[in-house]
């Protein structure tokens, strides 16, 4: 059991180190306590569900002709917002790049 916990801690540390997670994730961890013991899991689950819906919306929008970049940009903005709120730094940064492609109306990007 201890081994598992240690592995989890190492994994988490790696996520921070490699820039997948940022300080906001630590903030979320601070919000977890005995009165709300599953807070982080609950938020992350919501985040994943939310992200899945958004990604589906984005894929569908990319298949339309002509591509509605404004709509996609709106979805990506939402994605960026929620990933910032949970500390998903890499996702957030990718969203920023994505949005510049939207602005340039660059579908291939």
């Amino acid at each position: 059991m201890d081994q598992l916990q240690r592995k989890l801690r190492d994994y988490e540390a790696a996520m921070f180190q490699q820039g997948f997670l940022d300080d906001q994730f630590s903030q979320l961890q601070k919000l977890q306590d005995d009165s709300s013991p599953d807070f982080v899991i609950e938020v992350m689950t919501m985040f994943f569900d939310d992200s899945e819906k958004l990604l589906n919306n984005i894929s569908r929008a990319l298949e339309q002709i002509p591509v509605n970049f404004k709509q996609i940009d709106a979805y990506v903005h939402q994605q960026k917002g929620s990933s910032a709120s949970v500390g998903a730094a890499r996702v957030k940064n990718i969203c920023a790049t994505f949005r510049s492609f939207c602005e340039a109306q660059n579908r291939d990007g």
Partner: protein, 235 residues
């Protein structure tokens, strides 16, 4: 802890009630937790329209009805996202400030985008503060300060509304929200000592050099949105 002698409706008289407005489920959950852990009661809604409904300000009610309408719990602060479909946070802010019943409620705007003209516009419209997302615990701590200050000010005026924070008792009375709008008034607020700091140095409050350790000092509140901008830099 002195009470104003006002009765509260079955609510713990020291807990503030915040109305949080955000269309993002994730953000709602986070802000709700941030507020609860800071000893606030929270009502979270997903749109400006629902927020107005909760306050009793929605179009369906005639103004005469809304005077008698009392929401389930008195709202001490509204915190709202800026970018929302339908009604933006800015529009919600305007509606609240236009209402005679609710214009005294402090409204804080949150946004993931650090756009100075947007911030200025919100502050000009009467927003208490502007927080750049993601929201952290330190942001919420700062917010609690607004509610205390405001209640003391409201307590010294007409007392018809229930004051949730009756324990104001002489903390920074008369500061009000005007210091948010007029930066030049900062040096005039030297008469009201900061509420939480034990060593109040009334006459030495200068607008530019407020120490961040006493978030309750008025210039500190002024600086906070600006400071936040400087800290986050360019996104």
């Amino acid at each position: 802890m002195e009470s104003n002698g006002v009765v509260s409706i079955g609510v713990d008289s020291h807990e503030v009630h915040v109305l949080a407005v955000d269309d993002s489920l994730v953000d709602r959950k986070v802000i709700e937790r941030l507020l609860k852990i800071s000893a606030c009661k929270v009502t979270a809604v997903d749109s400006g329209i629902r927020a107005l409904q909760f306050l009793g300000l929605d179009e369906q009610r005639k103004s005469s009805e809304s005077d008698d309408f009392v929401p389930g719990l008195k709202v001490d602060l509204v915190i709202t996202d800026y970018c929302m479909p339908g009604m933006t946070g800015y529009e919600l802010l305007k509606k609240i400030k236009e209402s005679s019943t609710f214009k005294e409620i402090p409204v804080v705007i949150m946004s993931s985008e650090n756009i100075l003209p947007r911030i200025d516009r919100c502050l000009e419209e009467g927003a208490e503060d502007f927080i750049v997302k993601p929201v952290k615990l330190s942001d919420v701590k700062r917010l609690k300060g607004y509610m205390t200050t405001r209640d003391v000010r409201a307590g010294s005026q007409e007392n018809r509304e229930l004051n949730v924070n009756g324990n104001g008792g002489g903390q920074g009375g008369g500061v009000g929200i005007n210091n948010k709008r007029k930066l030049e008034e900062a040096s005039d607020i030297s008469s009201s000592p900061p509420s939480n700091s034990s060593a109040s140095s009334p006459s030495s409050i200068s607008s530019s050099q407020s120490p961040s350790s006493s978030p309750m000092s008025s210039p500190g509140m002024l600086d906070s949105p600006i400071r936040r901008i400087k800290m986050t830099g360019t996104e």
